[in-house]
Amino acid sequence: MIRDTAASFLAEVSSPAAVRAAMVRAEGHDQQAWQRICDEMVWQALHIPESYGGMGLGYVELIALLEQMGRFLFCSPFYATVCLGANALLVAGTESQKTTYLPKIVAGSTATLAYTGSNGGWGADSIELIVAPHNGGVVLNGKCRYVPDGASAEILVVAARSKGSHGMSGVSLFVLPQETAGLTRSWLPTMDQTRRQAELVFDNVQLDSDAIMCEPGAAWPLLEKIIDLATVAIVADQVGCAQQSLDMTVSYVLQRVQFGRVIGSYQAVKHKCADMMVKAESARSALYYAACIAAEALVDGELGADLASAASAAKACGSDACFFNTGTAIQLHGGVGFTAEYDVQLYFKRAKSSETFLGDSAYHRERLAQRLLDEGAGDEINL
């Protein structure tokens, strides 16, 4: 199955040594490994419909793959390209945009989504880029920050809002190629070196009307769906990280001896490992459920209506699980846990960037609370 294929391929191209080599490269990944994925594995086409040249598999398979990428700390433009770029096109692209760009992605072009400004939020209010009509097309001014692989992606989906608009109103989406006049992109070096972020500055960037995705000024519901799909996808990475941290830790504590016993025989250590398993398995349950819902949402199925809640539930517990497990992994490794030489710290850093990206647990719990508790919410709990 995809899980096993992915595991064995990634074990080869994303060994600890490969990760350490890739993460200090300027582009942040091993170009050769990415090429092999595009050519041999064709993972970038996994859930793109066959009509656009893709493999036409579902979100559940994509999630299984992403879980392995998290497990192996894979450095690549895969997440940005597939879970941001391709999803944005699938959800909000016009037929002509899909026909133009999706086959390019299938052919190996990279992509991403830029929507957050500098205010640190992840909801509709985070959009700060300003769009105005211009010569039948539009002009963009302002900036986006914290954009995954934003400095290298070849296809950009960008969210902007009309001047004076707030929150969910006035939001539009655009798709543009990297070589667009007025656009400056710069790498933002990060604590987690296995991923790349960028800032995009738009200085009177002019776009033709064919760059406009879906209904101008009313794109928020579709953008929210794109973000929710991306959220489920990042949880897969978290679950993989959380699981691998557990596995590495169990293996370490079963060989490390102190006081004449393997430290894994101490109940304090055993129970921490048990807690790590509970975290990993419960996050996995939430993830698998959300993956099924996401698959439904992509085909506009009835169960897809639960996407926002399922994504928030998964992200809240995925973030907790991943941070807890990677942090506990350092603790149970003792002194070697905070050396650069051991791998657990790389997982710990990736956990923090996954936690922050698209909103932490508190953000997602509050999002769920709004659905449960605020004006208009029924007494019904949706299960």
């Binding site: 393997v262 048990a274 398993m277 398995e281 459920y289 099924c292 539930a313 809240a316 508790l373 709990i381």
Partner: protein, 395 residues
């Protein structure tokens, strides 16, 4: 992981739902939502009558094989039954122990005679059972059972002496299945027998244990030369441990979705209170309410994983975390309920100590992380069986 059920299963759902709608009224209306954990002592005779009604409707032993008098329902159907039963507010089942533990055990390990003798009473909702495992010094360490069974060849029967504890509803049951030491020189899980003991005899005294809620759900059961025919012994004379462990394995997750429905009702109740008293606007309580809902979602997804998993009976990882997860979640829910109620949470419904439903849940939920294997024992099990870590040494 499947999120939906087959059309056939949904038709089954319709059937049980409408039967419950029809029958859980009239004389039985007062039973809705009663008799669950923390409330097991309530409305006992009415709930016994309800068991007979369930039997009349063909809803007892639904998971048992047809040739043993059951309905031979699929796992999917059993799940649906439990879900609809809980959704309708079906009362805590007096027949629970008999149907889910004794029946399957006899079907697997019992003689034909034993099955003929005991299964019908269980199915008909007429004979009620309780569980005689734990003892004062055999809690987490169940294999430390000290109750002694002595064989009297001349009468072909056993006498049992000792004390069991934490026996739910013993005072309302006719029979108890008892794990007792047949070999007085044995230690641990060897030399134990499994006995079906009639409680209505001189050698048995049942003493209720009052809990922190002021109610009595558990009992101590004292055996003083209590008699049990050799024919009422299940399995080998020294094979009781195998029977007992087999029995614990019969509970395989079909009822977890039903349990979650009860939890969901409690959370909905808490949300209603929060909306009414303004707690729903408190940012910290919002987080905790959302977290509770996330936990419910996780439990449901976890059960769906369990149910779509391997059918070879081996425990999967998601099954191994379930007890620890739900018990901790429910205990936290109790605290959340009180914090949502705020100052009013202290005030009981009726003087002198008539607790509200949520107060009783709050207090009783402290037991959730203890009975059926404490959280500490659960973590041992997970570490040792799922993660392959070394076992705790015996002293």
């Amino acid at each position: 992981m499947k999120l939906t059920f087959s059309d056939e299963a949904e038709a089954f759902r319709q059937k049980i739902a409408s039967w419950l709608a029809e029958n859980l009224g009239g004389e039985f209306a007062e039973l809705r939502g009663r008799g669950g954990p923390g409330d097991e002592h309530s409305l006992v005779s009415e709930r016994k009558a309800w068991e007979a009604r369930l039997h009349a409707g063909g809803w007892t032993g639904i998971g048992w094989p047809k040739n043993e008098g059951g309905q031979g329902a699929s796992l999917e159907q059993q799940v649906i039954f439990h879900e609809e039963y809980a959704r309708a507010g079906g009362p805590g089942r007096m027949g629970h122990i008999g149907e889910t533990l004794v029946g399957p055990t006899l079907i697997a390990f019992g003689s034909e005679a034993q099955k003929r003798r005991f299964l019908p009473g269980i199915l008909q909702g007429l004979v009620f059972w309780c569980q005689g495992y734990s003892e004062p010094n055999a809690g987490s360490d169940l294999a430390n059972v000290k109750t002694r069974a002595t064989f009297h060849a001349e009468r072909n029967e056993w006498t049992l002496s000792g004390q069991k504890v934490w026996t739910s509803l013993a005072h309302e049951s006719q029979y108890c299945f008892v794990l007792a030491r047949t070999d007085p020189t044995s230690v641990g899980h060897k030399g134990l027998g499994f006995f079906l003991v009639n409680l209505q005899q001189a050698g048995v005294v049942v003493r209720p244990i009052e809990q922190l809620t002021g109610t009595c759900e558990f009992n101590e059961v004292f055996f003083d030369e209590a008699v049990c025919a050799d024919a009422d012994r299940v399995g080998a004379v020294d094979g009781g441990w195998q029977v007992a462990m087999g029995l614990l394995g019969f509970e395989r997750g079909a009822s977890t979705l039903g349990q979650q429905m009860l939890f969901k009702n409690e959370l909905a109740d808490i949300i209603r209170h929060a909306k009414r008293n303004g707690a729903a606007r408190d940012p910290m309580l919002r987080q905790r309410i959302a977290d509770a809902e996330i936990g419910l979602r996780i439990m449901r997804a976890n059960s769906l994983r369990m149910l779509s998993g391997s059918s070879d009976g081996s425990l999967q990882k998601e099954a191994m975390i379930y007890k620890l997860y739900w018990a901790t979640w429910h205990r936290n829910l109790g605290k959340l309920a009180m914090d949502v109620l705020g100052a009013e949470s202290e005030i009981v419904e009726q003087a002198p100590y008539g607790l509200s439903r949520l107060q009783a849940m709050y207090l009783f939920s402290r037991a959730d992380t203890i009975y059926g294997g404490t959280n500490q024992i659960q973590r041992n099990i997970i570490a040792e069986r799922a993660l392959g870590m070394p076992r705790e040494p015996r002293g």
